[in-house]
Amino acid sequence: MAITAIKGKTALTGNSAIAYGMKQINPDVCAAYPITPSTQIAEEFSSYVADGAVQTEYVTVESEHSAMSACIGASAAGARVMTATSSQGLALMWEMLYVASGMRLPIVMTNVNRALSAPINIHCDHSDSMGARDAGWIQLYSETVQEGYDNLFQAMRIAEDLRVRIPAMVCFDGFITSHAIENIELLSDEEVQGFVGEFKAVNPLLDVERPVTYGALSLQDTYMEFKYQQSQAISRAKEVVIEVGKEFGKRFGREYGLFETYKLDDADVAVVILNSAAGTTKVAIDELRGKGIKAGLLRPRLYRPFPAVELSNALKHVKAIACLDRADSMSGFGGPLFNDIRSAMYELEARPKIISRIYGLGGRDYKVRDAIAVFDELENVKKTGVVDELMKYITI
C-alpha cells in the first residue's frame, strides 16, 4: 500500500509496516521466498529494491531452505541480512536455522505466525515459531502492528550486539496482525539509521587479509565449547533486550521490556498469553475488574532466551494462572509457554496453581468471552485450590 506519511501517524498492515521498516534499515542482502501470510513483506520489499529505494541485493530463491542458506552465506560474508517467512516456510528452513545460530550470524527474520500442516491451514497459530524455539534464535513476540515494526529495529540491535551475535526472529500473528490495518507511528529514516547504527561486519569471510572459516568440522574435542559459548551468548541477550528497549523508549517514547503486564500488581488470577490475543484479554480484564474480580495479564515479549526469574517474580503473588498457548507441544502435557512458565515457578516457596489452555489453533477466533471463561475457571481454582483439568483445549 502507498505510504504517504514519513513520520507521524498513519495506518498500515503488519506486513506493510515490516516491509517499510526493512526499507528504512536498507540491509545489504535480503533472500526470501514469499509465503502466506507473510507474502506482502517480500512483495513490497522487492518493489522497494526494484524502485531503487534501497541498495539491497535481493536474492530470489527457489525455497525457504535456500532463502535461509543464502542469508547465512551473505551474513558470513559480512553483510547485514534480513528475511521473512511463515509456517511451512519456517519449517523448511529448519536445518539452516541451527546453522545460522551456530555460526552466530545476526540475521533478522520476521516470522508471521501461521499454523503448520497437516491439515493444511493458512491462518494464525504459533506452531511454527514454537517449533523453532530451541533453534538458538532470539524470539520477540508482538501484540500489534506498531510493536512488530518497533521490534524489527530492536531485533537488529540485539542480534548485532557484540555480547550477543545471535540471529533474531520477530513474530506476530498471521492475518490478525499481518493483514489488519492499524494505526502506527512511523520513525523517520534518519531515526531508524541512528538507532540501528552503521553495520560493522565481524570476522567476514570476504576479508582476504584475515582469512577465517565458518562451520568447520568440530568433534568431541571442541563442539561442546562452541555450544557453551552460544548458550552463554543467548543468555546475555536478555540484558541487551532490556537495554535496547529502554533506549528505544528514550529516543522514540515507546519503551519495551522483557514482557508487558496489565493490572497484574494486585491480581489474584492471571492469564499469560502471547501476541494479539493479549489485547482481547485486556478488554476481558477490564470487564471483570468492573465486577470486582482481580484479574491480570502477563504478555511475554522476549520468549527466547526465556527470562525465567523475571517472569516468576512478576507472577509469584498470583493465586491461579492460566498459560494460554496458541500451539500444542503434542506431549500430552500442555503447551510450550505453560511448560516454561510452570518450570520457572518451581523454585518459589509458595507456588501458584498453573493450568494450560490451548486456544485459537489454525486461526480459530479467540473472543472476549473465551478469556472470561478462562478467568472463571481460575476463580474456581483460587477458591477451591483444586485443578480439575491441568490441560484443556478451549475455543473448541
Binding site: 490495518i181 482481547t280 472476549v368
Partner: protein, 192 residues
C-alpha cells in the same frame, strides 16, 4: 466491551470490500481516530463471499477478534442476503446499506429487519460504478452512501483521501471516476 464503532462489509471476491474497509480506515486515521480494517479470508477465488471489518474508536483498539455485533453493515452484493448471514449479531439500531436497484421498504422485507430503530438504506452502487468508473466496483459508491446515512465520516474527507492517496497509483480518469462514484453514492442513497 470497548466502545469501538464496528462495521461489517459483505461482498464477493473482486468487488472491492476489502479495499473499501481499508479506505474507510484511512479516512478515519486522517481525522485522528484509531482504526482497524481487516478482511476475513477464506478460500481465495473470484466470486466467493468475502467479509471485511472496521473498528473505529477515539482510543487505541485492543480487541483482536472478529467483529460479531456490527452496527453498520454494508452489502455490496444483494445475492448474499439469503446466504451470508448479513444481519447476524446486529443491534436494534443497526444501519444496513445495500447495493440494489430496489426500494428501501422492499429491501427491509428481504433482509427481514423487524426493528423500527434500524435503518435500511439502498443505493444502486453497481449502476453508479458502471457509469462513473466503467466497471462493476460498488465499493466507492457504498462509502459515499455511508457518509450520508451515518455521521461516521464526511464525504469531503472520503474524496480528499482518495485524491491524495491514490493519484499516484491510478490514472486521473480512474481517480475522477471514483470521486464521482463517492459523490453520487452520497447524493443518491435513499432510506425510509
Amino acid at each position: 466491551m470497548e466502545s469501538a464503532l464496528e462495521v461489517r462489509w459483505h461482498g464477493r471476491a473482486q468487488q472491492g470490500v476489502v479495499t473499501a474497509a481499508k479506505l474507510l480506515g484511512e479516512v478515519c486515521v486522517a481525522s485522528g481516530r484509531f482504526v482497524q480494517a481487516f478482511p476475513e479470508f477464506g478460500p481465495e477465488r473470484m466470486g466467493a463471499p468475502v467479509r471485511a471489518y472496521n473498528r473505529i474508536a477515539m482510543e487505541p483498539i485492543r480487541l483482536h477478534c472478529q467483529v460479531l455485533e456490527p452496527r453498520y453493515v454494508l452489502i455490496a452484493d444483494p445475492t448474499l442476503i439469503q446466504i451470508a448471514g448479513v444481519t447476524d449479531g446486529t443491534p436494534k439500531d443497526a444501519v444496513f446499506i445495500v447495493n440494489t436497484a430496489k426500494g428501501a421498504g422492499e429491501m427491509r422485507k428481504e433482509l427481514n429487519v423487524k426493528s423500527a430503530e434500524a435503518k435500511v438504506c439502498v443505493i444502486d452502487a453497481s449502476k453508479i460504478s458502471l457509469e462513473t468508473i466503467g466497471r462493476l466496483m460498488p465499493n466507492t459508491p457504498l462509502l459515499g452512501a455511508l457518509a450520508k446515512a451515518t455521521n461516521v465520516i464526511s464525504v469531503d474527507a472520503l474524496i480528499e483521501n482518495f485524491k491524495e492517496n491514490y493519484s499516484k497509483k491510478f490514472s486521473e480518469k480512474v481517480v475522477n471516476g471514483n470521486v464521482e462514484a463517492i459523490r453520487r453514492g452520497y447524493d443518491e442513497v435513499r432510506w425510509e
